[in-house]
């Protein structure tokens, strides 16, 4: 009961500590865990807590986008990647001990520098007086959308001429990033597609098919290669291809 009263009076600090703690804690989980599936799960929780921090800072639209794009989209992509590649040897991959030592030393010193910078400035350290915060309207979705289409409604009363020149908003970066995303997604789909070689014919293509096959069953391939070498002079059809209606196929057994 007492905890609830404290949380009511200091709800901002309370939720900040909860969200920041879980973001950092699950971030540590990503770093420490050796299991790739658990790492993906911890990363989902860490990104979700970061979205909570965004809500607390008054950026509710960015927080919602973080949940939708990062947690909803990117993480599904990443987890699919984990599932496609998490074979027996690659689920748990141990980091070498000397890598751990070196990374801890370098990361720790980097963290010291960054924390020193974060708390070094008096301007950043001193919190804003909540009484003179004149937050008239915290809904950011409409100004954000208008800024993306080129209108800065939040800076209409700006009297500085130099700043007024740059008030065209973010239309140009928005278009660039849209085309960039389209190109990237097409390129990624092209790059990650399954290689189909069914249209190819002839001895060379059967070689290619065998090399694809080699990844799956190593010892079967040895037999097939022997077969191809034996039948090379007779312009053999590839025995792996069941679509070919080669009636004179001798190895039906």
């Amino acid at each position: 009961m007492e905890l609830m009263a404290v949380a009511w009076a200091y709800w901002h600090q309370f939720f900040f500590i909860i969200f920041a703690g879980s973001a950092v804690g699950f971030g540590c989980g990503v770093l420490i865990s050796q299991n790739i599936v658990r790492m993906a799960f911890y990363l989902v929780l860490s990104l979700g807590s970061t979205a909570g921090l965004f809500f607390l800072a008054g950026a509710e639209f960015v927080g919602a986008m973080q949940l939708m794009i990062y947690v909803g989209g990117t993480m599904v992509l990443l987890i699919f990647g984990v599932m496609l590649t998490a074979q027996k040897d690659f689920v748990n991959m141990k980091t070498h001990t000397h890598d751990w030592i070196l990374a801890t030393v370098v990361g720790g010193s980097l963290l010291m520098v960054l924390l020193f910078a974060a708390f070094g400035s008096e301007d950043w350290r001193s919190p804003q007086d909540p009484t003179d915060a004149h937050v008239v309207d915290t809904k950011a979705a409409t100004p954000l959308g208008l800024a993306l289409t080129g209108v800065r409604v939040d800076k209409l009363d700006d009297t500085n001429d130099k700043l007024n020149q740059g008030k065209s908003g973010y239309l140009m970066p928005f278009i660039i990033i849209s085309v960039h995303l389209l190109v990237v997604l097409i390129g990624a789909a092209y790059m990650a597609r399954t290689k189909k070689l069914s249209h190819a014919t002839g001895l060379r293509s059967s070689r290619a098919r065998l090399s694809v096959f080699k990844m799956e069953e190593e010892d079967e391939v040895l037999e097939e290669e022997k077969y191809v070498v034996l039948r090379k002079d007779k312009q053999a059809k590839n025995p792996l291809d069941t679509n070919d209606n080669n009636t004179e196929n001798p190895d039906e057994d």
Binding site: V30, M93, V106
Partner: protein
Amino acid sequence: MLLFATVSVSWYLAVGAILFVLGAVCMATKRNLLGVLMGVELVLNGANINFIAFGSRLLRSEGDTLGLDGQLIALFVIVLAAAEAAVALAIALNFYNNHSTIDIDRANELKG
């Protein structure tokens, strides 16, 4: 005690710095290619927290805040991270299909 102090920008910067360092160390130590990708995601998130903190009207006074610019740049970073994850994942799958491994210590064919 921490609970009775008022939240300032420095707190957000500290969380961003910790996430950044965790991501950087993750990128350096993981041997799984997808683990390196997750480190990149953590680093981008740490940067995003800084943008949001400096753009917040609740944490900075009206003259000092980045305002909407901070949130817009955070949105762009999120979109860029999604694009980066898609491409890197396609490369990872291609690498896995060609080499039957996801260990980046064995990805040394381009070594000069």
